[in-house]
Amino acid sequence: MNKLSKLTAIAAVVTVVGFFSCKPRGAQSVVGGDAAQKTYVAPGKYDEFYDFVSGGFSGQMSVYGLPSGRLFRVIPVFSVDPEKGYGYSEETKAMLNTSHGYVPWDDLHHIALSETNGIQDGRWVFGNGNNTPRIARVDLKTFRTAEILEIPNSAGNHSSPFITENSEYVVAGTRFSVPLDNTNGDVPINTYKQNFKGTVSFIHVDTSGRMNIAFQIQTPGVNFDLARAGKAKSHGWVFFSCYNSEKANTLLEVNASQRDKDFIMCVNWKKAEEYVKAGKAEKRTVAYAHNVYNETTHSATSEIEKEVLVLDPKNCPDMVYFMPCPKSPHGCDTDPSGEYIVGSGKLAAVIPVFSFTKIQKAIADKNFDGDYDGIPVLKYEAVLHGEVQKPGLGPLHTEFDADGNAYTSFFVSSEIVKWRVSDLKVLDRVPTYYSVGHLSVPGGPTRKPWGKYVIAYNKITKDRYLPTGPELAQSAQLYDISGEKMKLLLDFPTIGEPHYAEAIPANLIMKNSQKIFRIEDNQNPFAAKGDANARVERKGNEVHAYITAIRSHFTPDNIEGVKLGDVVYFHVTNLEQDWDIPHGFAVKGANNAELLIMPGETQTLAWKPDRIGVFPIYCTDFCSALHQEMQGYVRVSAPGSNVPITFSTGKNEPTGPIAQNK
């Protein structure tokens, strides 16, 4: 061995040693060496993006920071949250009212951030209730659920809440076709083909955010799965994927997979608006709850609305078309230009990409392949831009970057595949751990993708984290997409089961974030704005305690004169006008939850004492150095007792002889 080759050998050994010592080991070796650098957000620094992640069967929405994966908040939406008193306080119970009464849980699958001109604007985020059909709007000033609207003529509100590019509408397609609400529902299930119908709803959003169902379109009895609004050139259209064009009512696993192609339903909503204006919609009697939270009264109201306008495509030509799409399409995504619509057949071997221009031409040329229940079916070849060949197994969803690339998730082959929209060429693929469902690129569903990352939302984590018994966390995985190759950077567990999520640059939201509620604006009829208004009043069997909370005491904190059989309403007003100083309120034995009251807010806890005695009350939120002193007592006497109502703070001094040791 000559000197040079010896040197080379040594250098090679050193290189190998150096390589291994720098690189993370084991299963993590798929992670890029600079992953820590790219995801580390130092203490006190802010993340670049907010990530709004659906909670699935938790019914809630969680808020993470990206790229760190830090959890900031879980926003209660469709499920009660005893931590915040949501659904337990008298003020919030109405948010969960439906035509079925109080429904304290749902299944939140999809997220839609509000948009202006096809760009995320940071005003609101919408979420769908999948089980008892509902759409919620969360206000991003307060990160609280501001409104929940029930959807009539729907069952399994899965194809929802997808938004148009100026937030004109959020749409809601029913997963289950059913006998519609105003028909006799007492029919044999195997009369599906005769009696079951689908609907898609167009929910108008006004400039204040308030929702109302503008109209519904009655459809053949298929299952609607997902949807996307058109954008730019295709603005004015919404594309709904649907499966079960077989109209099976049992064992869909087999019976809804018979046909080679199901459909993407293309709806021209501007046309639909014209038909509504022209009086073509039928007014149908239904019942659905419309719940609104008012940040001035700090209370929700629930109204049952009784009417909805329904358009039947039979009477409305040129409004709805079916576009064949292979094998039970799931995701149905439009690219940033609005020209391409990507269908992902769960069981398909290709990803078809449709062209909006060709769709328009096929419609103009009446290039149809017959009809489906009277609705024209566009000829597949006439509307196809092309197919991505052999992309992977089980394509589900597609998002886009700003450079003409698409990213599709594959559940069965557990991977994300990057491909180019123009020539349908597969460019890169990365594994996910494991079994990815949705994926998201910041701004990915809009006209302006912010790019930088793609996040996979995985269903299975098996060996990925420390085991926690049979039930494991689900996960999000963050990939860098700034280069040609996707690189795994980070994974983190999520709340509930994440379905869709949307990330948005932090600066579009953080500047609007509210700090306190101004006490002078508090219009809750039970507010006590200042200690002078604190009081306890009896009204028959009801005792109303108007309590104030400020560091570090309640006024009043000694209450007597409650009798067994009374219902006590604790109306607690947080007098603080200081950011991040909530007070909590709890009473021993209450059969509901605590209150968590933000500065300037009033919330009410109803309590029915079950026995005679003295019951402690206390502040549950570590508000101050004397938080542990923030407590009081409520005395409950026998039903016939003549103990009068009394209340005070700092005045009820000890009386009587003090026992002394002799």
């Binding site: 040594i10 050193v14 150096g18 006190g44 993340d47 306190i516 570090s552």
Partner: protein, 187 residues
């Protein structure tokens, strides 16, 4: 061989440094404007009611107190949720101290003494003016007590300092006093 060894060392150094470098530059991935590391008193917040620090900073009569609080590292403490009651001597009150006392206390080596005096002006609970009773003693943050006297509605502390005005702050009460309270001499 010696040369080979030197090259080897050099290579090892290169790799060590390349590892180190990547660690050093792993500072953070955030690009949005960062929050301040400067403590609670520096939190940007124009929506909330003013806290005790902001009340004092906003008063032209309390510039000496603010300088003293800064020197004693007590500014962030008084921006804490508290709650606090602060007896806040005016500039004039500080001027009444024997000549040179304050300058002496502002020296680095006298920081403990300054902290002791300033903490003798703070108690950890929010006491409104109507809470004070004649003959009451109040335990202060430095561990000593003050004595309250109330005559004809006028509150005097330790027989020497009068409350001349009271201001509600978000995290407690500020009572403006016309003399500096001096803690009892150490036993």
């Amino acid at each position: 061989m010696k040369k080979t060894f030197q090259i080897l060392i050099a290579l090892v150094m290169v790799f060590l440094m390349s590892c180190n470098n990547s660690n050093q530059t792993a500072a953070d991935a955030s690009s949005t404007e960062a929050s301040s590391d400067a403590g609670q008193a520096n939190v940007k917040d124009d929506a909330s009611m003013k806290d005790i620090v902001k009340v004092a900073v906003g008063s032209p009569d309390h510039t000496t107190l603010i300088s003293a609080l800064k020197q004693a590292d007590l500014v962030d403490v008084l921006a804490n949720p508290g709650p606090f009651t602060v007896f806040a001597p005016t500039n004039e009150a500080f001027n009444k101290l024997p000549k040179g006392t304050l300058d002496d206390l502002m020296k680095t080596e006298k920081k403990t003494d300054l902290q002791n005096i300033l903490q003798y002006h703070v108690t950890t609970s929010s006491l409104k003016a109507d809470y004070f009773k004649d003959g009451q003693t109040i335990g202060m943050v430095n561990g000593d007590n003050i004595t309250v006297s109330v005559k004809d509605g006028k509150v005097t502390l330790n027989g020497s300092a009068n409350i001349v005005a009271s201001v509600q702050a978000s995290n407690g009460m500020v009572h403006i006093i016309d003399a500096v309270l001096l803690p009892p001499a150490k036993k």
